[in-house]
Amino acid sequence: MIGDKKAEFERTVRAYSADLYRYAYWLCRDRFVAEELVQEAFARAWKSWRELREIGSVKAWLITILRNERARMFARKQIPVADDDVSELEIPDLPSMAENLDVKRQLERLPLAYREPLMLQVLGGYSCGEIASMLNTSEGAIMTRLTRARQALRQDAAEPLKRGARR
C-alpha cells in the first residue's frame, strides 16, 4: 500500500514538476526561487499524500500548495511583493529589445493579478470557473482580469506599430 503511494507520488512528480516550475517561474520571475518553490511544494505534498482522496485533481491541489508556499516564503524572507492594483494598469514604455523576447517582456510587465489567471488558463488549461475557485474569487472577476490581461498584451504589441506609423 505504502509502495503504491510512493509509486503514485513519483509518477506525479515526473508528470507535473515541469508544469509547476513554469507556473512558479511566472509567479515570481526568478528561476532559482521557482525551483525552490517546486521542491518545497512537493515536499509538503508528500507529507499530506495519504490524505489525497482524488488523484484526478492532484495538479490543482499542487498549484494551491505552491501558491501557499510562495506566500510563506515571502513572509519568511520579508521580500516585498511588487504587485500593482488591478484597476490601475499602466504599461510603461521600455527601450526595444530583441524581438524574440517581446512577448516574455510584455508578460513580465503585467501585474500579478492579471498574469496569474492568464498563466493558469494558458499553461494549465483551466476554465474561468476553475481558476476562480483556485484563486478564491468569483468567475466574473476572473473573466474581467483575463479580458484586461489580453487587452493589455494586444495594446502593448500594437504600440511599436503605432510609433512606427507616427514617424
Binding site: 510512493k6 507520488f9 513519483e10 512528480v13 515526473r14 514538476s17 515541469a18 516550475y21 513554469r22 517561474y25 511566472w26 520571475r29 526568478d30 528561476r31 532559482f32 525551483e35 517546486v38 521542491q39 512537493f42 515536499a43 508528500w46 507529507k47 521600455l94 529589445m97 530583441a98 524574440n100 523576447l101 512577448v103 516574455k104 517582456r105 508578460l107 513580465e108 492568464l118 498563466m119 488558463q121 494558458v122 499553461l123 488549461g125 476554465s127 474561468c128 476572473i142 473573466m143 474581467t144 483575463l146 479580458t147 489580453r150 487587452q151 498584451l153 494586444r154 504589441a157
Partner: protein, 229 residues
C-alpha cells in the same frame, strides 16, 4: 450576442466558445478575423510561457523527498541512475558538443529577459561575491553593473548572472564555479553570441548580440578582473 459581448467572451476564454459566440462569428466577418487573431496570439503566448525547465528537476525533487521519506537505498538508487544515465549517454551519444556551455549560457539569457530591464543587487559587494566564487577579484571597476543574481544552472548547481553596461550596449557575464571546462569555446545561436573561458576554479561566459562585441567585452573583462586572484 453583439460584437462587444463576443470580443469580451473571446478574450476571457479563447479556447471555449459558447454556441452564441460561434453563431455570431459565422455572421460577423470582423469578429471572425478578431477571433483568429486572438487564437494566433494564444499560440504565441503559450510559446513564451513555456520557459525551459532545469535539467533533472524531477530527480532532484524525488531525491529531496527521498531524504525525508523514502528508504535510503531509494535515494542512492535514484542518484546512481542519474550518474549512470549521464555515463551511458556519453558512451552511446558521444561527448557533448564543445560549445555546449556557450549554448547553455545563451539559453539562460533568453530565459531571463528581465535581466535586461530590471536592476537587481547591482552593488559592488554583490559583484565581488559573484567573482569570488571562482577565485577572481575586481582590478578596475566594470562600470555600471545593473543585475547580479544567483541562478540555477545545470545538474542542480548554481551560476552567477551579471549584466553590465559597455560602450557597445548591455553585456551578460555568467560565472560558474567548480565546473571544469577544458578549453575556450564560442557560439552564435538565435542572434546571440557567447564565449566560454575556463578559469582556475570554473569558467565564465560572455553573452552579447554579436561575436565582435563578445570579443571586445572579453577583453574588458580580462583587463579589469583578476581571474587568478
Amino acid at each position: 450576442m453583439n460584437c462587444l459581448e463576443f470580443r469580451r467572451e473571446k478574450l476571457a476564454e479563447p479556447r471555449h466558445s459558447s454556441a452564441a459566440a460561434r453563431a455570431h462569428a459565422q455572421e460577423c466577418p470582423q469578429c471572425a478575423v478578431f477571433s483568429r487573431s486572438v487564437d494566433e496570439s494564444e499560440a504565441e503566448l503559450l510559446r513564451a510561457m513555456t520557459v525551459s525547465v532545469p535539467e533533472g528537476l524531477a530527480d532532484r525533487v524525488l531525491l529531496r523527498s527521498g531524504r525525508a521519506n523514502f528508504p535510503a537505498w531509494r535515494g542512492w538508487a535514484l542518484a546512481a541512475s542519474v550518474v549512470l544515465g549521464v555515463g551511458l549517454a556519453s558512451i552511446f551519444f558521444g561527448a557533448p558538443p564543445s560549445d555546449a556551455y556557450a549554448r547553455l549560457a545563451v539559453t539562460h539569457v533568453i530565459d531571463e529577459p528581465e535581466s535586461f530591464t530590471t536592476e537587481y543587487h547591482s552593488d559592488a559587494h554583490s559583484v565581488a561575491v559573484a567573482l569570488r566564487s571562482v577565485g577572481a577579484s575586481v582590478r578596475t571597476p566594470l562600470g555600471k553593473v545593473r543585475y547580479v543574481k544567483l541562478c540555477p544552472w545545470e545538474n542542480g548547481t548554481a551560476a552567477w548572472h551579471l549584466v553590465f553596461e559597455t560602450p557597445q550596449g548591455l553585456a551578460t557575464l555568467i560565472v560558474v564555479a567548480d565546473e571544469r571546462v577544458r578549453s575556450k569555446s564560442d557560439t552564435f545561436v538565435d542572434g546571440w553570441s557567447a564565449g566560454v573561458r575556463p578559469v582556475r576554479r570554473g569558467f565564465y561566459a560572455v553573452v552579447t548580440s554579436s561575436p565582435a562585441m563578445t570579443g571586445q567585452v572579453d577583453e574588458i573583462l580580462r583587463a579589469r578582473i583578476n581571474w587568478d586572484a
